[in-house]
Symmetry: C2
């Protein structure tokens, strides 16, 4: 589904590793019948592997991402050190509190927004602090790594808040100085560019979705 942040993760890893792939975007409200052949629960992303015996398919964005990192090690994304890798995975997991709060605002009522915005900022604090203590432009060091790509889809979508909220929410450039610099770098990363949509476009999709209109073909 073109606007799914979890599917977005798979695109970013495939792009970063220069792995050739063919994307089929689906309608997630009226799912194609063949979908469960690849994804038993009908979720995206699903990655079919035509070079493997029996054309198996993988699901779950983090499982897909780690599989690609192990299978195509030329552009490594996770740290090699097991401890650093585990610590990055914990940060990816902790980002899910931000995801929950963001979607409350994306989809939700204006009344719920202030609390959710506080939760989002508190979540971002963790990543601002982390980037600061690492002292590198990206979480992955001098270039984006798996942690950068796994959280990026929601940072890209954060840009839509200025179109969705009356107060035109933007990241506080002082409180989140490192993250803002990181975001500006990420936007120019080749893998990110390959699947990038601006905040206005994300907002257009989301506004329709708030009215229960799922305009999956909006870009076609």
């Amino acid at each position: 589904m073109r606007f799914c942040p979890y599917a977005h993760r798979a695109h970013l890893v495939l792009n970063a590793k220069n792995i050739p792939y063919h994307a089929i975007f689906i309608n997630l409200t009226e799912k194609p019948e063949w979908l469960t052949e690849f994804s038993p629960l009908g979720k995206v992303p699903a990655l079919q592997l035509p070079k493997e015996e029996g054309n198996p398919a993988l699901i779950e964005s983090l499982i897909v991402a780690e599989y690609l990192d192990e299978k195509y090690p030329d552009v490594p994304l996770f740290p090699k050190d097991p401890l650093k890798k585990a610590q990055d995975k914990i940060l990816i997991e902790r980002f899910s509190s931000v995801v929950g709060a963001l979607y409350k605002v994306f989809l939700g009522s204006t009344e719920a927004a202030p609390d959710a915005l506080t939760e989002i900022s508190k979540g971002f604090d963790i990543f601002e602090k982390e980037l600061s203590s690492r002292g590198t432009p990206y979480f992955g060091g001098d270039k984006p790594g798996m942690l950068d790509y796994m959280i990026w889809p929601w940072f890209e979508r954060t840009e839509m808040l200025k179109y969705l909220l009356p107060e035109k929410f933007e990241l506080d450039k002082e409180r989140f100085s490192k993250l803002v610099a990181w975001r500006d770098l990420m936007i120019n990363d080749q893998a990110v560019k390959g699947h990038y949509l601006n905040g206005e476009t994300h907002a257009k999709f989301m506004k329709a979705r708030r009215d229960n209109v799922h305009d999956y073909d909006m870009l076609v």
Copy 2:
């Protein structure tokens, strides 16, 4: 927490790999103040690594398990092949539908039980079929692997259903013939034995919990 199935996973991996460790069981209702130093969200398991610089701690059972598998490769638990490893992770992920349904029965009202039992059996069907198609006694082959250990805590707890339900639920020996044989083997595995509690003991803890009594020190 001695009765937590997620913490159970960490014990199984540590036992299987013969890694020396010191367990501290905590009260999850009245959490010790120091817990968030190791586990920011106050969850278990949390694994402190005293040999690593700064005594870092890891959380999230699956992240802990994979870290231990990478750091201590002498007894490998995940398949080496990235595809097989990813497929086992997907099965671990799919097991979460069983977990949800099991806890409905463990904690819930008798009215919810029939639907949840159907869901549990449907979930077990996936694993019965998988074990059958692998043609090995364990999911990991001739001995238990990561998939075996990651789902075991809930199979061990399934034994309490005969003490919690009026109809004394047991696994259907025909429908789940492979799984029943697997369970009987797993109970005798050294790593499993090291943290094993029988169904009656699990049921005793759960019955108290139903009455909102958290008897964490029941075994002391």
